[in-house]
Symmetry: C2
Subunit: 351 residues, 2 copies
């Protein structure tokens, strides 16, 4: 199991105090974007965009709901807290530029743990060219809570919303799906084994891919950059946070259209498939409902098919229909099933 | 005691689901600012500022730390969650334009309670001309958590930071101080009495002012508007959230200056004084360390004194000195004491 240094009870936080803590955690931040005029340390950060539209998105991560500190390294958690927000900005076809971070921490979290958390957040900021410009730090009576807000920019004509999908548009998704969910299942299984017998060491060999998908997801900046390169603007786009099924239905509902996707077109990594089989789960169900893949799900005009078909990082999985009540999946056995939106703790198992 | 409708255990939230809940809570939102291009319902909200600087600020409110649902009506809580953020925007001498709201809710919170919370938030939005443009809703294993991020705008030359205070500048504060802290003490006292004997009805008559200061604080938009009218730009400004002492020290540290304030100049409402006396607390200590008053603390050049001295809503309480280590208060008895920064759970009592 991962080293559990965040569990030791300490009172260091109280000694340092709120202001000392903020200063300690933020003193190494260097602003990298021209639009970041003023960062941490005043009532508000100051940002300047010229002739650009600003996008803003926010996510709240709650211990016990979104992460389990028993198996989540704090550095990974910080990284993920940032990247899931950047993913929302990319899903607008925009470039993230700034984030703010609010934390609520209980005194069983050590300063070292918070440093790891910040290290992960700042690593993500550096990789994706984003400035951490402000936030709030407070105490918590129970677990760790992380709230991240991201700001980004795009030219008005570049922005892609969820409501632009049209009949006959192709439905595409980047990367592969279901991996993050399988990673979570593995971690939960090992947690169970560990709680029954703490001397048993977990064996994760060969499973790195799905663990990384769960613990350290990467937002698809490369896909946004690809759109520019190949001169394609999606008609609608969303990031896959709730699962392919829910997120595709979001696009359809907001665009007033229906959809048909094909089970055999859904991209799955071989690790995802083998872990699913080992756990007696249907990998397609995991891809449809697992969530947290942070891939980009988008629709394009049929006329852009030639431009996209050679792109290794994108799979065409179906098309948009005019029947706005019908969200369909054609199974490998050529049955037509209905997709359903899952949300909030919904985890489907096929037993 | 206030009607306690938020405590009933219900499973309505699970029935409605995350997406249903967001839709239910946000369907009545009407955007009012030209700069709000796209609100709730996509991966991110879209905002357009032309030739303005954008300010962004965020606050996290945690049940058990920042509020107690036993005596906090949800509508007031929603109102306050918004206004404390707007206060940070005004403290930059900027005008708030948009907010995002993230909530983590446990299933003991009813839909009616969340409706009340949103009603309060939207009331604050309407009064201060702000659009709610996005957010995140998730479940919580323990209490209610509210994260609000506010965006605002100002011309570059209008922005006021914390670091501009100069020697001989006058230290000014709007309204009066210590009231919010006394309101909290009253509510805590009644909670104690109620927990010992639930048949005793609380008697808050005559205390409305301090209760309102605690439960429903108003940010000082009027003071920002006043600056425009009388053509004064503060040299430094902060809102009083941690207490006069902490917040004045923030200005001094960031401006590399010292300060001298006078106890007899600190503005106190008569209700604050009488509640403090009844509770055997020193009202000055409450004003210095109580916090949550959300008044504006600012410094102005000596030459602006004539413009500000007739303003009923502002008190001049001292001046900035060149001695950057010295944060002084001259008591009514003409003793010189040192101001100290309190933070995080620090509540001073004079016994």
């Amino acid at each position: 199991m991962l080293e559990d240094k965040n569990q030791k009870p300490v009172s260091e936080l109280e000694e340092l105090g709120e202001f000392g803590l903020i200063k300690h955690l933020t003193e190494n931040i260097k602003l990298q974007n021209k639009s970041s005029i003023k960062g941490v340390g005043d009532d508000a950060a100051v940002i300047q965009y010229d002739n650009k539209q600003t996008v803003v998105t926010t996510d709240l991560l709650v211990e016990g709901i979104h992460f389990d500190l028993l198996y989540t390294p704090l550095k990974h958690l910080g990284y993920k807290a940032v990247t899931v927000n950047l993913s929302d900005v990319y899903a607008m076809n925009a470039q993230p530029k700034q984030i703010t971070v609010s934390l609520a921490v209980s005194n069983r979290i050590s300063i070292e743990a918070l440093e790891d958390l910040y290290e992960g957040m700042l690593l993500a900021c550096n990789i994706y060219g984003v400035d951490l410009v402000g936030g709030d730090t407070t105490s918590s009576t129970s677990g760790l809570i992380i709230s991240v807000t991201a700001l980004g920019e795009a030219d008005e004509k570049e922005l892609v919303y969820r409501d632009g999908a049209k009949e006959n548009d192709l439905i595409c998704v980047s990367g592969d799906l279901g991996g993050a969910f399988m990673g979570l299942q593995l971690l939960e299984r090992e947690k169970q084994i560990y709680s029954e017998n703490p001397t048993v060491q977990p064996d994760f060999s060969g499973f790195d891919y799905v663990l990384e998908r769960q613990l350290k997801p990467e937002p698809r900046k490369d896909v946004i950059d690809m759109f520019k390169e190949i001169d394609v603007k999606p008609t609608a786009m969303i990031d896959v946070s709730d699962g392919l099924s829910s997120d595709l239905i979001h696009i359809c509902q907001q665009s007033n259209v229906g959809c048909t996707i094909y089970e055999d077109k859904i991209p799955l990594d071989h690790t995802t498939v083998s872990v699913a089989e080992e756990m007696k789960l249907d990998p397609t169900v995991c891809a449809l409902n697992g969530g947290e893949d942070y891939e980009l799900l988008f629709t394009i005009s049929l006329e852009d098919y030639e431009k996209i078909k050679e792109q290794q990082r994108v799979s065409v999985i179906g098309h948009i229909t005019s029947d706005k009540e019908a969200y369909q999946i054609v199974t490998k056995g050529e049955q037509i099933n209905t997709l359903t939106a899952q949300g909030w703790n919904a985890i489907l198992k096929n037993d």
